[in-house]
Symmetry: C2
DNA sequence: CCGTATCCATTCCGATACTG
DNA sequence: CAGTATCGGAATGGATACGG
């Protein structure tokens, strides 16, 4: 699907893995502590064959990993790899954007809290190395060829 | 598509708007300064009818806005609204994740720089209000009903 | 419990042709 | 240049039945 221009773009490549309808929802649940096939299925409400396909893709992409069940049962669990855990800021970004723009004032919604303090997580902002908050117009792109 | 459980989740709602195959790619290009129909079409390489549909959706969702062309031509331009501009951290998150995990060491790729300093943007991290970096296991979710 | 195999409906996409 | 109209094919999703 990626043409020559977009093949070099990290955003395009990331969306090849994360851009389908279910990947980020499954990761959201994984960040929430879900590990078992039936847990994902119950929480997402999708058909088992679809879930099976998506989980397989996430395993192949190295975002999830199969390991023996922690509770001693005979089955396996889907746990996050380092690569999968690193998607966390993206999901938090989606969450914060949704909270800000997609809910009415008094509408019920779920919120993410820092367990230690009980207070909401800081809003994600793009910053330069000196700490300035930067927007899209403050950035430029460069193509680098060697590491 | 959203069941009762997920209707309250800001991530799920965000993905209803941003989770299709093209929305975030179009926004990436918009962050890059693209404004015209033909610019998007050329850069993304998709069919015109599809681009038209996606742009219409982004207009309806309030992420983009039509305005008269800045160069005095007869046509209109698609420019980001505040709601659309606020997606920037998500796209940067995708970019950084892609850069880290989806490229070989010496492989050519594009990189995002702070224009003022010429140095790469800071890596996006999820932080608590006191500045601690937090991962998924350091968070919990709470459902709030009123404001 | 954890999937796989089938089958069908739907949605999405790309190519092309056409309009103002 | 900036779209709209139409069509066929591909991908995706849901329901159900079945097997280890």
């Amino acid at each position: 699907m990626l043409d020559d221009v977009n093949a070099q773009c990290p955003v395009a490549r990331a969306l090849e893995v994360l851009g389908d309808r279910w990947a980020l929802m499954i990761l959201r649940d994984a960040f929430d502590g879900l590990r078992r096939f039936s847990e994902f299925q119950k929480n997402l409400g999708l058909a088992k064959n679809i879930l099976a396909t998506r989980l397989k893709l996430l395993l192949e992409s190295g975002l999830l990993q199969l390991q023996p069940a922690s509770d001693g049962s005979a089955y396996k669990e889907y746990v996050l790899t380092d690569k999968g855990r690193s998607v966390f800021p993206i999901v938090v970004g989606l969450r914060q954007w949704g909270e800000r723009f997609l809910f009415e004032a008094g509408e019920a919604r779920s919120e993410l809290l820092d367990s230690a303090s009980g207070k909401p997580i800081e809003t994600l902002l793009v910053r330069a190395q000196d700490g300035r908050v930067v927007g899209p117009e403050d950035c430029r792109r460069r193509v680098i060829s060697h590491g």
